[in-house]
């Protein structure tokens, strides 16, 4: 099948399929006489794997490792699990950071009247002023 159908079947844009090929994440596709890329079910499977890994937030480098492990019948599940847990830790870190931001903002927003007047603890907080304290 052509790249368009491969894209439709996997949810990976044609653009990205070509990109993945260019960075070696997938092998160079077979070509027809027309020079069009030609994909089979094996390629579709691999692209689906990549898309699901992307959807779970893995980076391209991590996906490269996962693909290697996928194709390695000698792999130990411990390796896969370690990679996954490392990624979970990254996610936790990001979630924690965003949660801290959210908390700070919510606190500032709660203290803001949100009316027609200019006085605003949010702006004051960003401006580095101790919000209406010891002064």
């Amino acid at each position: 099948m052509q790249i368009g159908e491969a894209s439709r079947l996997t949810g990976v844009s044609a653009k990205m399929i070509r990109h993945y090929e260019s960075i070696g994440l997938i092998p160079n596709a077979d070509r027809r006489d027309s020079n069009y890329r030609d994909y089979g079910h094996h390629d579709i499977h691999r692209l689906g794997f990549i898309r699901r890994a992307r959807d779970l937030g893995f980076s391209m480098d991590e996906i490269r490792d996962l693909l290697r492990l996928w194709g390695d019948t000698q792999r130990s599940s411990a390796d896969v699990k370690a990679l996954t847990q490392s990624h979970i830790a990254e996610l936790d870190q990001k979630i924690r950071l965003l949660g801290e931001m959210r908390h700070t903002l919510a606190t500032l927003a709660d203290a803001c009247d949100g009316d027609h007047r200019p006085d605003c603890p949010i702006i004051e907080g960003l401006a580095g002023e101790t919000p209406h304290a010891g002064h």
Copy 2:
């Protein structure tokens, strides 16, 4: 003061200070005879504002709006609050998405023995196989 000290005082890299100037987030800095940029306490204050907004995850566009509101004595705190709450909603969305990823990964990882054998529900999940179900 020179850009280096401004950077040290605000925690914004010299590189980014120049960049902020180039995109109009801060006004063109005064120049000495040497063509070196020259900063005063007013600039430091503005850079500090930007850094704190960045630390809270605001985008450059949002920061542009916040700076405008900061300088607008006619602002209504409602505008600031609305911008902030919109940003909080963005954060919530990101947190939710990451949380979903984390949940899926944790579920897969929990099901993975993590031993020397190759069998691994994580890899199977990514490969699109219904994990050991009806077959």
